[in-house]
Subunit: 136 residues, 2 copies
Amino acid sequence: MNIGEVAELSQVNSKMIRRYEEQGIIPKAGRSLSGYRQYTQKDVHVLRFVKRSRELGFSMKDVKQLVSLWRNKNRPSSQVKSIASKHIEELERKLQEIQSMLSTLKYLTNNCHGDQRPDCPILEGLEFNKSKELHL
Amino acid sequence: MNIGEVAELSQVNSKMIRRYEEQGIIPKAGRSLSGYRQYTQKDVHVLRFVKRSRELGFSMKDVKQLVSLWRNKNRPSSQVKSIASKHIEELERKLQEIQSMLSTLKYLTNNCHGDQRPDCPILEGLEFNKSKELHL
DNA sequence: CTTGAGCTTCCCATAATGGGAAGGTTTAAG
DNA sequence: CTTAAACCTTCCCATTATGGGAAGCTCAAG
């Protein structure tokens, strides 16, 4: 099948399919006589794996390794787990960061009248570095 | 003072100070005879405001508006609050996304032996779209 | 044969940060 | 006075992941 069909089936945009091929995340597709990329159901399978990995927030670098491990039937699961664990740590770091931002922002926003008057705790909070106080 | 000193005082990299000037987030600095940018304590103040805003995750577009409102002593606080509220919504969206990823990833990772054996629930989870089941 | 849909490659844009080059300036030391 | 270090200038490039759009070729149907 052509790239359009595989894009539809895998729910991965054809632009992205080409890019993944460039980056060596998926194998280079065969070509028809006229140069069209040719795919099989197997490629759909791989692309779904890639898509799911991206949905879980793995970087392309990670996805590349994951696909490679997925295909290697002799992989040690420790390697997979290591990648996932690092990713979890990274996500937890981001989570904390966002929670911290939210905590400050909500505090400031709750105290802002939000009317015609110019006085605004949000701007004051941005002006002075009160973040530490806010979190006490 | 020169850009290096103001960078030190504001904790904003000089590369970034120039970029912020380009983007109209901070006013164009005056120049010395030889073309060096010249700053005052006031500029440090603005840059700290920018930095703090970035630390709270506001986009440069938002920061530009916030700086503008900050300088306009007749601003309605409603405009500031509106920007902050939208940002809070966006952060909450991201928070949910990350929490959802983490929930799935932790489940998969907890069930992975992480040893020499090749069988791996993480890879299986990426292969089949089990996310919905996982969240039940 | 023409037309439209689908494919190809190549360039550009996004958002924010920063590295590095090539070259001018200032300052301090010799 | 000269020289070298440290600092400044602008300009280009890289990052991460995704996608828009152009120019041109191909395929299928009328």
